[in-house]
């Protein structure tokens, strides 16, 4: 277990180092933030003063060396825009992203399991056809298009729901639905396939031969095995979600880490870009471990290897 965690951690640190280097220099290629933060009529002295204060006058390599030193001291930098430590800014946005991800995943996974399992029980019947086709559309529809179409229809034309922002239940409906669509579609396909395999398996025959009621055959014997495949895919989806649903958060003005990153890039708020990427990487690392542990808990064959 310890060996496994160490190996995982080493891999993550290596990957993160490469990523941070790339992000650091790429961000600086977007140009000097000075012009963005000072008014057009600001004097040359003021501009130079700003550059010097934030170290933008130094060569990029020197800036990088300083950044690495700061990181090792536990300092992820200072947000130019918010005038606060970047860590604070990112950690403030994070729960918003996590809440959205958690609600979305919960809905997508439970619905997908129900739909996938029932579709697999009677393949080729009406429910299966509607479910399979619907899930395929859901899995393939581009989220930016769905998001904007949904806003036009439900917020603009029908005026049933708010266009964007955060608040009570109505504010959750569109972002969660749009964000859940792809995971739901993918998972229905996975659960349906895995359930069909499980229902055709020898152990399901054994369960029937023992006189186990059909309900338990499906929802205990078969589904418990089909979940193994679902967890693998749901895990990937969960990892994809906790780095912020960039498009959905941006379109719906949802103040999560995805939107924060996009804003930070636009504003050349380098410290926030870097901090959000490092914190997201840490979250992904933890998430992956959580998924592995869940997988081990679900599949005894892996536990005993």
């Amino acid at each position: 277990m310890l060996a496994y965690l160490t190996r995982r951690a080493v891999h993550s640190v290596i990957a993160l180092t490469g990523l941070v280097i790339a992000v650091f220099f790429l961000a600086r290629l977007t140009g000097d933030p000075t012009n963005l933060y000072l008014p057009p009529e600001a004097s040359r002295e003021a501009r130079e003063e700003f550059s010097r204060k934030h170290g933008f006058d130094r060569p990029a390599t020197e800036q990088f060396a300083r950044f690495v030193g700061d990181v090792l001291d536990g300092n992820l930098g200072f947000s130019l825009k918010k005038q606060r430590p970047a860590v604070e800014v990112v950690l403030e946005a994070y729960p918003t992203t996590l809440k959205l991800a958690a609600v979305t995943l919960l809905i997508a996974i439970s619905l997908a399991i129900a739909v996938g399992a029932l579709a697999a029980y009677r393949p080729g019947r009406v429910f299966d056809r509607v479910g399979s086709t619907g899930s395929l559309i859901g899995a393939s529809a581009p989220d930016f298009w769905v998001a904007i179409t949904a806003i036009l229809l439900f917020a603009e034309s029908l005026r049933w729901l708010p266009t964007s922002g955060t608040g009570g239940f109505p504010y959750w409906v569109l972002p969660v639905t749009v964000l859940a669509l792809r995971p739901f579609g993918l998972l229905v396909q996975v659960v349906r396939g895995a359930m069909m395999d499980a229902l055709a398996s020898a152990y399901v025959k054994t369960a029937r031969a023992k006189g186990v009621a059909e309900r338990s055959v499906i929802f205990v014997h078969a589904l418990r095995n089909a979940l193994l495949a679902a967890v693998t895919v749901a895990g990937d989806i969960a990892v994809g979600m906790i780095n912020g649903a960039v498009i959905v958060e941006t379109v719906f003005g949802w103040p999560g880490v995805g939107k924060l990153m996009i804003d930070a890039v636009e504003q050349r708020d380098f410290a926030v870009i870097q901090a959000s990427i490092m914190i997201t990487a840490a979250a992904i690392f933890l998430m992956n471990i959580l998924i592995d542990l869940l997988y081990v808990a679900l599949d005894p064959r892996i536990r005993h290897q």
Binding site: E214, L228, D299, P300
Partner: protein, 331 residues
Amino acid sequence: MPNADAPLLEVDDLRIEFRSGREIVRAVNGASFTVRRGETTAVLGESGSGKSVTAAAIMRLLASPPAHITGGRIRFNGADVLGAPMAQWRKRCGRDIGMVFQDALASLNPVFTVGWQIAEPFKAHGVLPAKAALERAVALLGRVGIPEPHARAHDYPHQFSGGMRQRVMIAMAIALDPSLLIADEPTTALDVTVQAQIMDLLLDLQRERHMAMVLITHDLGVVAEVADRVAVMYGGRVVESGLARDVLPRPAHPYTLALLESVPRSDIEQQQLNPIVGSPPNMATLPSGCAFHPRCRRATSECRAARPPTVKVAPGHHAECFYAQQVFDGR
């Protein structure tokens, strides 16, 4: 309680097809045999002869589609099996009839402990609550010869050896003391030394519990050792049936005879093996007349033209061959 002499299980003219697209595979083409209380009936045949499909049909485990039962009857304890509502039939599975499958690794659920799986019939049939059921499961594990049953009940199927897994399957099948045990090639997947142990265990349990057993097998040696009755299947039909002690020493069907001759013998000097020439029939395009005629030394134009009648060569000994009497008489 039905008459003790009445057959426990009757399979009568059973016909089963598998349909996929245009192709129709006629796996079982009018198979008939009976099983009496406390007796072992061996259903003997090559792969593809329809014996396992017949076993699955008795338990109503065939998936439809692709399988369709197109004719015949199955009676258990005098009651119609195929016509009963599924939910009602399911309540008899496990309680009145137990089944042991060939591949125990695939047939045990990989994500539940063996204790849980053996305890399940008690719970599913409302016989015992979970805790008591688990205690019974431990006792059953001990009965089928698993050492340290208390500890092993918490293990998963993949933690057992092939023979031990088959013991687990057997424990599960006999949990509710069924009056009939269907064992579908219970030893085929096992090492030769383990095969004998598993057969011995099955026989012990059968005697101890007065169970009837349907033993699906392709192993003549096993049949000779354990079977009271034998039904020989070929091309989806039972071509010869009778008491094992009548049929094996003096078969009346050329196929049974060829099978017996193909077994290598240790008591006489043999230059070579005597295989049955040709290969088992393609069940999608069965030969006309007697399905065995392309491989039969005695086949005549008659055998190609029409299905042979069932000939009674001795009381309770039947064979489906125009020349059954000649074969029986050794002519």
